[in-house]
Symmetry: C2
Subunit: 259 residues, 2 copies
Amino acid sequence: MGTVSKALSLLTHFNHGRLEIGLSDLTRLSGLNKATVYRLMGELQEQGFVEQIEAARSYRLGPQVLRLAALREASVPILSASRRVLRELSEVTGETTHLSLLQGDQLASLSHAYAPQHATKVMMEDAEVLTFHGTASGLAVLGFAEAGFVEAVLARPLEARTPQTQTDPEVVRAQITEVQRAGIAQSVGGFEAEVHSHAVPIFGPDRAVLGALAVAAPSSRMSAAQRRAIPQALHAAGLALTQRIGGVCPPDFPTVPAA
Amino acid sequence: MGTVSKALSLLTHFNHGRLEIGLSDLTRLSGLNKATVYRLMGELQEQGFVEQIEAARSYRLGPQVLRLAALREASVPILSASRRVLRELSEVTGETTHLSLLQGDQLASLSHAYAPQHATKVMMEDAEVLTFHGTASGLAVLGFAEAGFVEAVLARPLEARTPQTQTDPEVVRAQITEVQRAGIAQSVGGFEAEVHSHAVPIFGPDRAVLGALAVAAPSSRMSAAQRRAIPQALHAAGLALTQRIGGVCPPDFPTVPAA
DNA sequence: ACCAATGGTTCAAATAATGAACCAATCGGG
DNA sequence: CCCGATTGGTTCATTATTTGAACCATTGGT
């Protein structure tokens, strides 16, 4: 791994539960030498990618990433395109919806919308990293990703976030086959207990899968009517979003929502 | 300059006018060796910071920056805090408003709001890099930045974006002194012709200047009434935003809007 | 058919990254 | 109030990576 990759991989350790990281923690998390981490963080800081909090001397992400994100949106306005789709999908389904995007070998939830109807709803945070095997979004992506990518994901140990999480690669493989047939993925409590999620893949201009659009509902509200309504609305919303960003579905993507 | 800094500095060449850059262009822009740029971009691509467009083989910013930006906002929610302030300021002044943030040695406009009142308005793009000497925002920042920073900025050649741009360092220095006295900066046509801008600095928890809040109006609409109303509204909005993000004004910041 | 430009690749030479050990300061018990 | 443990930060000889001139294959324009 090159020096640049090492530096950038340090940034992957930031997440919602760890917005600030000290030098020692980062050294442990990365497995790199302390002096190396120190110097790399110094360079990241010079370029504005991280900044150091005076008091604790711990690091947090810097302002430079805001500019880059704004330019990324100018290049590929997928987040702004998603907002309307998410809002409408939340209204129609009465549940929380979110968009997750593939970032290398990670899947991160980056935009969401809540439904006004219910007092209880599934809460979301942007930039949360999702597991592939334990979320509907992850399965939707795997169903239409390259075979090599799927193998790489399943070769890693599959973490169990809840007692319901499927951690057997063979079971996950069967789920993926079902996703390919139906064009839609499901997960019941695989990431958060009591959450029933549906998801469909989103495709780019080169027919490659970019991420997934998902509806997350409390299991208790999953009536027979919802089980029919959500896949239908989700399928349509997925096609709409893919189209809005100039994407094209691959030939093997089902054109009608299957049961 | 370390390898990491070189790689990250490649990203600074992306902007609204150059959302995609080919290998040769990037080599020229950066002044680095072609093989170096090629390898560095390869590493940036591996980490999802850039991606390559299949057809043209040129590079654009990658999806990874979106995740980092979302986390930065979770750490320091300055953009979300600014939106309400900008909206209200646009309503009160009837003109376009925007927030720019300091990113190392660059000042980038990152959030804006339009007023509904007028058919003609100053248009803004997020992530545009502003000059320090030719914009009200830049002058507002310089007025309350460290002396060393001001010297570094004025030591560089001052580009003239319009015939009205002040490029004499001594004149700019005098403008900065005036900004310190009044607590508000002005620029008439220094960045775009026919645009009259006012700006106030925004401060962080450590009393350091983070960026500037600005009102940009067509020169033709700058009546005597507006010349009084804008500084007053802007001063109040700046204090409000500084406060909302937990910032503190330095002791030498004027507490009342001066003429 | 040509020339100039593009993206991509090679390999010896030059340079930068590395990591074990060390320092000073701080923290939290007992 | 002292002690051990932990923190951020620094050093420098060794090591491994980066570098860049030159080269190749394609593409596009004239």
